[in-house]
């Protein structure tokens, strides 16, 4: 399979290093926030501004993403006294955040604004559950388009992706045990994350003995649904260097890159290959590095399988060897290249991707918020002891990669570097 790729990744127009993430903000990851999405988004953006050391007047651009399950920019900006010179609220979930970071860079480069706050606010457990229970499970009429999907009981993310996961096992001999290791390892990471919704460590056996949702997905192969607000701030790197923390410098972004037939990904090519196969040809040349250079990954874990298939198709291992890669210790804290050190969507909380970017920003700062004691300089003194309840900071992080997932046919990605 070849694709014409005329993207010139050698010139400066790709803005390598010119933009950075200067601030990050989160509410708690909970079930039952007892607050509106407006309240959650407002807290997250306020905390991101505080984290950056910025005042409301310093932020003049805003972006957000949602599935019509959230509030919109004017409501957050209004509460915080932000006067946007630019804003946009887009439709979408997973794969949105890296794409929006790229858009933020573009609008700043175009002179439309200077500093952009991006937020995602959702009551993903207590109001709109993406997994589809509650209102989404109600009887609705079938029309021409939905006869191909809901008419067959094909509606939730797990139901829509399961054939790709199954075919990967058929094509490459990937085993249930290998894939379950993703959850087991992410749960180890989450046990060192006081913010994580699930902090209890689980084993591969626990995953395989949890009840079946849709084969090949057990309950514990699926991510947790939570309520939370999350935000980050994008600005020019030289401005970010004046902010409170060391900036996470953006080397390359890919936004909502698609396989052929993004409407029905399974109509094209081998379905055991995902959009990362195409995205990698933009991500790595634009960043000027390759997968072997990356210290920490954030491969979107809507399901155990999504982390595995993306790591494989972005080239962290050979095609077909994703099962071995995620189960041989490489992606564990203390391993060669840990994945989702916060516990990700499987354990920390569900945000459609932004918390995995926030975690990598913290890793690049060398200051993840684990239980290590605070030093006199206000930074944690990391022990690098990854046993339960301990440290989750990775040593000497220089480069991180985020691999965002929308569907098997849709992905976004980003490489960030230490300042």
């Amino acid at each position: 399979m070849t694709q014409k790729n005329d993207i010139d990744a050698t010139s400066n127009k790709f803005l390598r290093g010119k933009y950075a993430i200067a601030g990050i903000g989160e509410t708690g990851y909970v079930r039952g926030s007892g607050r509106t999405t407006k309240a959650l988004g407002t807290e997250a953006v306020r905390k991101a501004m505080q984290d950056a050391g910025l005042k409301p007047g310093d932020v003049d651009g805003m972006l957000s993403y949602s599935f019509n399950d959230s509030t919109f920019t004017p409501n957050i900006a209004g509460e915080l006294g932000i006067r946007p010179n630019f804003y946009m609220d887009v439709y979408g979930g997973g794969s949105s955040i890296e794409a929006l970071i790229g858009i933020a860079m573009g609008v700043i480069e175009a002179g439309m604004c200077n500093t952009v706050a991006i937020f995602r606010a959702m009551n993903g457990y207590s109001q709109v559950r993406i997994g589809g229970t509650g209102d989404r499970g109600a009887v609705r009429p079938l029309n021409g388009g939905s006869l191909f999907s809901r008419g067959y009981g094909l509606m939730s993310a797990g139901q829509m992706f399961c054939q790709s996961f199954m075919r990967h096992m058929y094509d490459y001999g990937t085993t249930p045990e290998q894939v379950a290791a993703v959850k087991a390892i992410h749960s180890e990471h989450a046990s060192n994350n006081p913010k994580a919704y699930y902090q209890k460590r689980v084993s591969v056996d626990d995953v395989l003995s949890s009840r079946m949702i849709v084969k090949p997905l057990h309950l514990l192969d699926c991510c947790v649904e939570t309520d939370n607000g999350t935000a980050l701030i994008v600005t020019r790197t030289d401005r970010a260097r004046d902010c409170k923390h060391s900036p996470a410098v953006i080397q390359s972004v890919v936004g909502r890159c698609c396989k052929p037939r993004p409407d029905m990904h399974y109509q094209s090519g081998p379905i055991s290959t995902v959009a990362g196969h195409y995205a990698k040809d933009i991500l790595w040349p634009n960043a000027g590095v390759g997968p072997e250079d990356i210290d920490v990954t954030g491969s979107y874990d809507a399901f155990t399988f999504t982390s595995m298939m993306q790591l494989e198709d972005y080239g962290f291992c050979k095609k077909g060897e994703g099962g071995a890669y995620v189960s041989d210790g490489t992606i564990r804290l203390g391993g060669k290249r840990p994945n989702n050190t916060s516990g990700g969507h499987l354990c920390e909380g569900y945000t459609h991707g932004i918390n995995m970017v926030i975690e990598n920003v913290r890793q690049l700062r060398g200051d993840v918020d684990d239980s290590c004691p605070m030093g006199s300089d206000g930074k944690r003194v990391h022990s690098f002891d990854y046993s339960e309840g301990g440290c989750r900071q990775v040593r000497d992080v220089e480069l991180t990669a985020n691999l965002g997932w929308g569907t098997p046919g849709l992905g976004s990605a980003m490489v960030m570097a230490k300042n």
Partner: protein, 173 residues
């Protein structure tokens, strides 16, 4: 002949403006699988679209296609989301690759229809039937009649076909 006008309790109504799906499900109502064939590049496509996914041409001709194929992949739902399916678990989410146009336009491409596995008379498959089906199983199309304009295509084991000795199924039953 009376029609239920619903499928598993879900009312079925195709919008008047959705000419392509009205045509597709209209052929299904005659128990006659037809797909659009592009007048320019001659490739068939599924599902119905207003332009060719391979060359963007708007011109197509409805062409008869044999409703036989192989299970390309599947999922097996044990926890139903939609109320309509709760009494039918487990049920299969099939991806059936038709014999027609297999390996075209690319070596790994094909016409892949989504469907549930059903008995030869169109009832949702029993757990025993489900255990007989995996990747490689040979299936044929059957129809569930909704009204005079719409039938829903579904698949059942092809009794005439040579079945693989052991179709590939997920390792844990």
């Amino acid at each position: 002949m009376s029609f239920p006008n619903e499928h598993l309790g879900m009312p079925v109504k195709i919008d008047a403006l959705d000419h392509e799906n009205r045509a597709f499900f209209g052929y299904c109502a005659k128990h006659d699988l037809h797909l659009q064939q592009c007048n320019d590049c001659n490739l068939l496509r599924y599902p119905a679209t207003t332009a060719c996914p391979f060359c963007a041409s708007p011109d197509a001709t409805w062409t008869p296609v044999e409703g036989k194929g192989t299970v390309y992949s599947y999922g097996e739902v044990h926890h139903a989301i939609q109320g309509a399916f709760r009494q039918h678990v487990p049920y299969l989410l099939l991806l059936v690759e038709l014999d027609t146009q297999k390996g075209l336009p690319g070596a790994y491409d094909g016409l892949r229809m989504t469907a549930n596995l059903v008995s030869s008379d169109g009832q949702m498959a029993t757990p025993e039937m489900i255990r007989q089906v995996g990747i490689g199983s040979r299936l044929r199309i059957v129809y569930k009649d909704i009204d005079e304009h719409v039938s829903i295509p579904l698949f059942t084991l092809d009794e005439q076909a040579k079945q693989p000795e052991k179709p590939w199924r997920y390792a844990i039953e």
